[in-house]
């Protein structure tokens, strides 16, 4: 019995040795045991463009520690690279929990990387903030899981409903849907098709394409042949560029009123900069834009600090889409800890279920499975873009909020061809 315990201890010491670089990076000799927050971030691999979220985590940690920590304890981040591969996720989270003894967990980015961790946290009954995983908890239904992202309830189907609301208001009857053959896009397209059906629209074209497609001319011709009035596109950055260029080259019918929907890419500085005016007229989803209805001193201060760090690290200098919500994840955890005065998962979860939390993106209240009670996915129309200067996107008026109505800052400019030319 004794030797077994010694062996166990030995293994734990070895593991701590392995983990040393990560821990030494922070302040390991604090008098009080720090509160540990564990996360995996895709620093490398195909999802590496989401790594600017880490700046959000770090800004939050610095803010909290500058204010004296949580419950009098310092906050320490333990972050590992999942290399964008779901295969690495189980071992990483087991290490975060079993070796690093983290009190709070942040999920990896998106549904595919988060899926492997869901059964684990459910089985072990752990507290986790989900990062951008669409409908991430709809299967596991874990009651200690909370989304930092604004997808809202029933998100698998509804998160892009704003696009279809706009289409409905325009009297659109025929719609075309295309999507990249990847998890997020595929779910978005499937949800979109359901909503279109619900609104009595005819889906005249519905096709998926492989992730590395670079030429969309034939697909655009096929879409034109279907004569739609709106085109819902769920794409990833590379294809977003290719599709927008393809439309410019092949041309599109004047009947098309709305174009866009769920394109990933036009939220990021890289694409905004490279495509510039070619993006005019696009109606696309977003999570945050610097429009008057969303601008607050808190978020402004966040971006004032984010930008210099991002520039230094060579990541997206705008950072509108992901980083604020990584900061929000920290704020949610902080609220749960201070609100429940503990790091006990059940108490933290109970607090978040019972109380709405103030964050830099507004007040958030949660459903039983940790979705935002109210969907707050934005549909913005890109307008008046001139040249490829990124700074213009920090000003209002270029990413006009059309939906939800509570945040609206402008009316849809339609048809697409006209809005494009403006």
């Amino acid at each position: 019995m004794k030797t077994r315990r010694q062996f166990h201890k030995l293994m734990a010491v070895t593991a701590a040795g392995l983990a040393a670089p990560a821990i030494l990076g922070s302040k390991v000799f604090a008098q009080d045991k720090p509160i540990r927050v564990g996360a995996s971030v895709s620093l490398t691999g195909p999802l590496a463009s989401t790594k600017n979220g880490q700046i959000g985590y770090e800004l939050w940690r610095d803010d909290v520690n500058a204010a004296g920590g949580l419950l009098g304890r310092k906050v320490e981040l333990v972050i590992y690279d999942d290399q964008s591969s779901a295969a690495n996720v189980p071992a990483i989270y087991s290490k975060l929990v079993d070796v690093d003894a983290c009190d709070v967990l942040f999920s990896p980015y998106g549904a595919n990387l988060s899926a492997p961790v869901m059964p684990f946290i459910k089985q072990r009954d752990l507290f986790m903030i989900g990062m951008f995983g669409l409908a991430g908890n709809d299967v596991a239904k874990h009651d200690k899981f909370f989304h930092s992202g604004p997808w809202g309830p029933n998100s698998g189907r509804d998160w892009a409903r704003g696009f279809f609301d706009l289409a409905k208001a325009q009297g659109v009857k025929k719609i075309a849907i295309i999507n990249a053959d990847l998890e997020f896009s595929k779910n978005a397209a499937k949800g979109g098709a359901d909503v279109a059906k619900e609104y009595g629209m005819e889906v005249v074209f519905n096709q998926s394409y492989p992730p590395n497609t670079s030429d969309f001319s034939s697909m655009i011709r096929n879409i034109n042949a279907g004569d739609p009035e709106a085109i819902f596109i769920a794409s990833y950055p590379a294809d977003s560029t290719a599709i927008i260029r393809g439309v410019k080259e092949i041309g599109i019918s004047d009947k098309v009123k709305l174009f866009g929907g769920a394109m990933i890419g036009p939220q990021y500085g890289a694409l905004l900069g490279s495509l510039g005016p070619e993006l005019n007229g696009l109606v696309n989803s977003h999570t945050f834009v610097p429009e008057p209805t969303m601008q607050t001193p808190a978020i402004k201060s966040f971006f004032d600090r984010y930008t210099p760090i991002a520039v230094k690290q060579g990541v997206d200098p705008l950072g509108f889409y992901i980083p604020p919500f990584y900061y929000v994840a920290g704020q949610l955890a902080a609220a749960a800890i201070t609100g429940s005065k503990s790091v006990d998962p059940a108490k933290m979860a109970a607090f978040l279920h019972a109380n709405a939390v103030d964050t830099i993106v507004g007040k958030i209240a949660f459903t039983e499975i940790g979705d935002w009670k109210e969907r707050r996915v934005l549909m913005v129309q890109l307008r008046g873009i001139k040249g490829n200067d990124l700074e213009q996107f920090r000003n209002p008026g270029h990413q006009v909020i059309l939906d939800p109505p509570s945040l609206k800052t402008g009316e849809l400019a339609a048809p697409y061809n006209k809005a494009r030319a403006s």
Binding site: R4, F7, H8, M11, A12, A15, L18, A19, A20, P21, A22, L43, T44, P46, I79, Y80, D81, D82, Q83, S85, A86, A87, N88, V89, P90, A91, I92, S94, K95, V97, D98, V99, A111, N112, A115, P116, M118, P119, F120, Q123, V139, D181, L182, E183, S185, K186, N187, S208, P210
Partner: protein, 316 residues
């Protein structure tokens, strides 16, 4: 030879016993998560080496076989509730069939073409999975594994034990191939295909056997994976890193004997496990790439060759 076999057998028994006992001795589940991955790579490297090392035919498509095992087992479990051991067996059979198919298509020509064709296998299988909605397509498929049996304390420990068994069986299979007439024939093929054929070695049939065994082991390595991640999706199931490691590990360890891939996998997979969870950077992958180049360039015999292998002389 007798003595070696007895030592080997004793080793197997010890490793198996550890596989079943460790979960009760060691409380921290992390070691089973990490250990699972290491053992998975031991199996993959061993399977790859049966064809790549003994016969000298490079398979870039290890991920294709692995992914086929992953998806088959996920499908059989979620649709028919087949128990895990049967899923593994089914994966091994399908892997063997796939191997023979690949071999039959390309092995009659030069080895390079085989290598290139295996690159394609991954793409083709991945494309097929993408387009079958029953397998979840690109969105993937959640697999909630069965409760572990009473003799195992938890799911991660159970997966670990299962992987121990698969790895041990694979290594034993590889060793048997190596010391039997099959292994001698394959090494003859590797040295000179014509000379082997003219010495009475049925080269094509032998290569097909190697393809089948290698494919079976690679696919079996993938079979428990859905239960490890609770989720399968094509990008990770057919991940390039699997193909990379399948080649890098035997090459680093040494391709001539069964020991090489085991050493290479233990070493590289452990380093990768430690590296992923500690220093976190592109530099990790850079490191693997550089190590690979260094070994190919300066120590083509791998680690097992560096430590002067006197045993390699004739077993009389």
């Amino acid at each position: 030879m007798r003595k070696n076999s007895l030592v080997f057998l004793a080793g197997i028994v010890i490793v198996l016993a550890l596989g079943f006992l460790m979960p009760w001795l060691l409380r921290n589940p992390f070691y089973f998560f990490a250990g699972y991955v290491v053992l998975q790579y031991v199996t993959i490297a061993t399977g790859w080496n049966i064809l790549g090392g003994y016969a000298g035919y490079i398979n870039f498509g290890a991920a294709g076989f692995f992914g086929a095992g992953v998806y088959l087992s996920a499908f059989l479990f979620t649709s028919f509730g087949l128990p895990l051991p049967l899923c593994i067996l089914a994966a091994a059979i399908v892997g063997a069939i796939l191997g023979v198919l690949m071999g039959y298509l390309t092995l009659r020509i030069q080895g390079v073409y085989f290598a290139i064709a295996t690159l394609g296998l991954v793409v083709v299988l991945e494309t097929i999975v993408h387009n079958i909605s029953g397998l979840g397509g690109a969105s993937g498929m959640a697999v909630y594994g069965p409760r572990p049996p009473a003799w195992s304390p938890g799911p991660s420990q159970y997966n670990f034990t299962v992987m121990v068994v698969i790895a041990v069986v694979s290594v034993a299979l590889a060793r048997w191939v190596e010391i039997s007439w099959i292994g001698r024939g394959l090494r003859a093929v590797r040295a000179s295909e014509d000379a082997a054929e003219c010495s009475g070695v049925p080269t094509l049939r032998l290569k097909l056997v190697a393809c089948a065994l290698s494919g079976a082991v690679l696919a079996a390595a993938g079979a428990p994976y859905p239960f490890y991640t609770s989720f399968v999706e094509p990008v990770t199931a057919f991940s390039l890193i699997i193909g990379l490691n399948a080649i890098a590990m035997p090459l680093i360890g040494g391709t001539r004997t069964w020991v090489g891939p085991v050493i290479g996998a233990l070493l590289l997979a452990s380093v990768q496990q430690i590296a992923t969870v500690t220093i976190s950077s592109e530099l990790n992958i850079l490191f693997v790439g550089a190590v690979l180049i260094a070994f190919v360039a300066f120590a083509p015999g791998g680690i097992s060759d560096l430590f002067g292998r006197k045993k390699g002389r004739a077993r009389l």
